[in-house]
């Protein structure tokens, strides 16, 4: 049962295309599992459709129709779906993620790894998968701008409560937190942050075992 949803404003931003591509991806993963939010998004898309109909028509360039018709028979470019790396083959991945290229996994402790998700147009890594094994916790940290999280499998507990499979979390610079994995299994999340994030140096700074040992 999904307990945590994107705020209504985030769903409106999604429907209007105002989020950056990585954030759109995280919300799309939530929508796959959440009929309530899907219904809200379809309401907004309906508003978009109604406003499109009401938009004042603009004059098109000379011979625009001929140019258009001439393109109809062109072969459709085929884009091959990238195959998922082996380390993800045991996870039940959300469909919107399946079209993406996932980069090399970086293990930062025996129990925690990150893997960048390729979102074209984003200069630096800010959309990534993170996996943390049982009983692991991230050291206290905060964010620049907003950060969206979708729980793919497992659960973690944070200042906002417990987040299970399908739940959506949004944090920003006002939140200082120490999310920790709860439950019997590890936790895999898709995360996208507004501000670029450097993966190098990250382990030493923010990853900590529950025992308090700093890596």
């Amino acid at each position: 049962m999904i307990q945590h949803h994107p705020a209504p404003e985030i769903l409106a931003e999604y429907a209007g295309g105002a989020l950056h591509a990585g954030a759109m991806l995280v919300v799309a993963c939530h929508l796959e599992t959440c009929a309530v939010c899907r219904s809200e998004v379809s309401l907004w898309e309906g508003v978009g459709g109604a406003l499109l109909d009401e938009t004042a028509p603009e004059i098109l360039s000379h011979r625009a129709l001929e140019a258009m018709m001439a393109r109809l028979d062109a072969a459709e470019p085929q884009s091959a779906r990238p195959s998922m790396p082996d380390f993800l083959k045991d996870f039940d991945l959300p469909a919107p993620l399946k079209g993406r290229t996932v980069g090399r996994r970086r293990r930062v402790t025996p129990n925690i790894w990150f893997a960048p998700v390729d979102v074209p147009g984003e200069g630096s890594v800010r959309t990534y998968l993170v996996y943390a094994g049982r009983n692991t916790v991230l050291a206290e940290h905060t964010h620049v701008g907003r950060e969206f999280t979708h729980v793919i499998t497992g659960a973690f507990t944070d200042t906002g409560g417990r987040y299970d499979k399908g739940d959506f979390a949004c944090t920003d610079e006002t939140i200082i937190h120490t999310p920790g994995v709860t439950g019997e299994t590890g936790c895999l999340c898709l995360i996208s942050a507004d501000a670029p994030m450097r993966l190098t140096g990250l382990p030493a700074r923010i990853i900590q075992r529950l025992t308090g040992t700093l890596y």
């Binding site: 799309a28 219904s39 379809s42 459709g49 109604a50 499109l52 470019p77 469909a95």
Partner: protein, 187 residues
């Protein structure tokens, strides 16, 4: 099939896309182009693109309609709503970089478990949304158009309408609540 009173076009354009999917009907496509082409160009212009780019993206969007017409499900979305979603995805794509041909954002575009709302005939639902929009107070309808459709930052809207930022934000919030209530109440 239920048709929303007074707006036959809502279903007509859906029929048109279905004809394109089933028969690769060029005449129907040309009719669709005549209606949506100028409006899509308007949409992209209002999102701050130049006339040339707006026209390119309009063509891309309608080419997508031609190619993906078989994925259009009139039970799930009205024609304008579906075309709006395509245009929106293209405008995000453009922001993303010099584009990878054929690469479109993988937005959610299929459902497993339709909600009661989703089961409503899309034409009926679109009709309700139009009625709800028309019932919004003019000042709220305006901020919805500017912030959601034209994607203007709230700060810019505040400047243009000479309103305090807080007023713009509260109008957007009120409009959202009202729209949701109006559409739900009619279900």
């Amino acid at each position: 099939m239920a048709v929303w009173k007074g707006s036959h076009t809502v279903t007509d354009w859906s029929d048109c896309i279905v004809a394109i999917a089933q028969r690769r009907d060029r005449q129907q496509f040309a009719a669709l182009f005549a209606h949506f082409g100028p409006r899509l160009k308007g949409f992209f212009l209002r999102r701050g693109l130049t006339a040339g780019t707006a026209e390119d993206l309009m063509q891309e969007a309608l080419l997508m309609v031609w190619r993906k017409a078989d994925r259009f499900d009139p039970q799930r979305a009205g024609a304008s709503t579906w075309i709006f979603a395509i245009a929106r995805n293209l405008s995000i794509d453009l922001k993303r970089r010099e584009r990878d041909p054929g690469l479109l954002a993988e937005f959610y575009d299929g459902a497993d478990q339709p909600t009661p709302g989703e089961l409503l005939l899309s034409a009926e639902r679109d009709g309700r949304i139009r009625a709800a929009l028309a019932a919004l107070p003019a000042d709220q309808a305006e901020v919805v158009r500017l912030s959601f459709f034209e994607e203007r930052p709230h700060s810019q809207i505040a400047e243009e309408l000479r309103l305090p930022l807080g007023t713009v934000k509260s109008r957007v919030r009120l409009a959202m609540m009202r729209l949701r209530a109006l559409v739900e109440e009619r279900q």
